[in-house]
Symmetry: C2
Subunit: 113 residues, 2 copies
């Protein structure tokens, strides 16, 4: 991650769950590109962070996988399970709560920032 890497710590699962909540299925490389595009290159997920986290989400039962072949190339799609959908919402409100707490603590004015 190029932009403020220390700040982003702990938010990766939240990002992944939200992306998968908005898109019925996505694969790893697609996720990296989508995040890069949506953040104007400010967040670039590395594979070393992405894949272990996706595997962890799968083991927690929050995502399911589905393999497709594009020619001979493997592509592994990830989708949210029902548990993943509710977890996604939990994570989002948790993050919103966190940001509001930090706004008070840091006296931030986010409208002009």
């Amino acid at each position: 991650m190029i932009f403020s890497s220390e700040l982003i710590k702990g938010t990766l699962k939240t990002i992944l769950l939200k992306l998968l909540a908005d898109n019925s299925k996505m694969y790893g490389y697609e996720i990296t590109q989508k995040v890069k595009e949506m953040t104007a290159d400010r967040i670039q997920l590395t594979e070393g962070a992405l894949y272990p986290t996706l595997h962890a989400l799968e083991q927690e039962g929050l995502v399911t996988t589905q393999i497709e072949y594009i020619g001979k190339r493997v592509r592994k799609y990830y989708s949210l399970s029902p548990a993943g959908k509710s977890r996604s919402q939990e994570k989002l409100s948790e993050f919103a709560d966190f940001v509001n707490t930090m706004k008070i603590l840091l006296d931030l004015d986010l409208k002009t920032a």
Copy 2:
């Protein structure tokens, strides 16, 4: 930290620099209480995180220390150096930038969250 501990990772230095920017001198225990109070108990700094971070800030030349005795009890005050003051502002705008990026990525509405 009681509240969303994984999210708070990486924000501790920012919190400390901001508090010290607003208060000319503070000591460790005072910081933990102030943060607890300002966040309605949602963020409780642990000593294991706090003291190493304060020491790191001191070694980076961002804070200076000053020991006082209250009766026989030692109290170690921390203050921002000039470098610490500008670093504080950098960290704050970096965090604001980060939040705005995440708002886009997560499609957050922070007014009602």
